[in-house]
């Protein structure tokens, strides 16, 4: 998945309020979270290690 897509819903992230960070568990996978998924606390999953957040 390209870096600018939300890991939960797949939407392309453009607006403010989004966050991109390395997976807290493995540090390899990149997690993207769009504003709406952050607002609704939608779970995300690291593609590299399978870590599930938030």
């Amino acid at each position: 998945m390209p870096d600018n897509r939300c890991s939960s819903c797949g939407v392309v992230m453009q607006r403010k309020g989004t966050a991109i960070f390395k997976c807290p568990a493995c540090g390899e996978g990149t997690i993207g979270r769009c504003t709406q998924c952050r607002d609704q606390s939608v779970p995300y999953k690291c593609e590299a290690c399978g870590f599930e957040g938030p």
């Binding site: 966050a19 390395k22 807290p24 979270r33 952050r38 607002d39 609704q40 606390s41 938030p54």
Partner: protein, 205 residues
């Protein structure tokens, strides 16, 4: 104060130390967001948090924070009992601290003298530190939150389920977090080399 460190199932400290500090004690209300972290409901109506998940998340948060430059981490604590533990945590790991009232614009208004641009933020209570949470959201940085059973986890990117109201619980969580961050950075060779005590993190009554 030492736990075995290698196996995944083992806790960072013995279970009874977690229990005596009250890290697992939740609230009488639960939020849907925190449901996965709740172990059971006590007969007096208090929700009990899952210690194993708290422990896992402290390990995770240690790894997560260790990847950032110390001065790029911002710790926020508006809650009275959270201020001292947060200050000691921030001082020990070299992070910035905002204890007490969070001045609006700290993360968004470059004209303010206290303006700062961290890469990651740690909030002691997402409900009490709402202003910091909103500003972190606006600037697009990841948020680590200490969440109790009644907290909404909106905008939080990494939840540490814990009692975030108790004096000793907050001291214990920040003590564990400090030790874990230093270990992940390689500053501490092993956990027994950590010199601060949990009492050093406790707020005075």
């Amino acid at each position: 104060m030492e736990g075995s460190e290698n196996p995944e199932e083992a806790l960072l400290i013995p279970e009874d130390q977690y229990l005596t500090s009250g890290v697992h004690i939740g609230t009488q209300q639960k939020s849907a967001d925190m449901k996965p972290f709740i172990y059971k409901i006590r007969t007096d109506g208090l929700y009990v948090l899952d210690i194993q998940k708290t422990d896992d998340r402290i390990r995770g948060a240690g790894k997560f924070l260790a990847r950032y430059e110390p001065e790029q981490i911002l710790v926020v604590a508006a809650r009275q009992y959270g201020q001292k533990p947060a200050k000691v945590f921030a001082r020990t790991i070299g992070a910035k601290i905002f204890a007490g009232r969070f001045v609006p614009g700290t993360l968004t208004n470059p004209d303010l003298p206290m303006f700062t641009e961290p890469d990651i933020i740690v909030v002691t209570d997402p409900a009490a530190d709402q202003q910091a949470l909103k500003e972190a959201l606006n600037v697009g940085i990841p948020i680590i939150g200490l969440c109790d059973a009644n907290n909404e986890t909106k905008f939080v990117d990494f939840i540490i389920p814990t009692n975030n109201k108790g004096r000793r619980a907050l001291a214990m969580i920040y003590w564990l977090l400090t030790r874990q961050v230093l270990k992940e950075r390689g500053t501490l060779k092993d956990l027994s080399g950590f010199e601060l005590a949990v009492e050093d993190f406790e707020a005075t009554l």
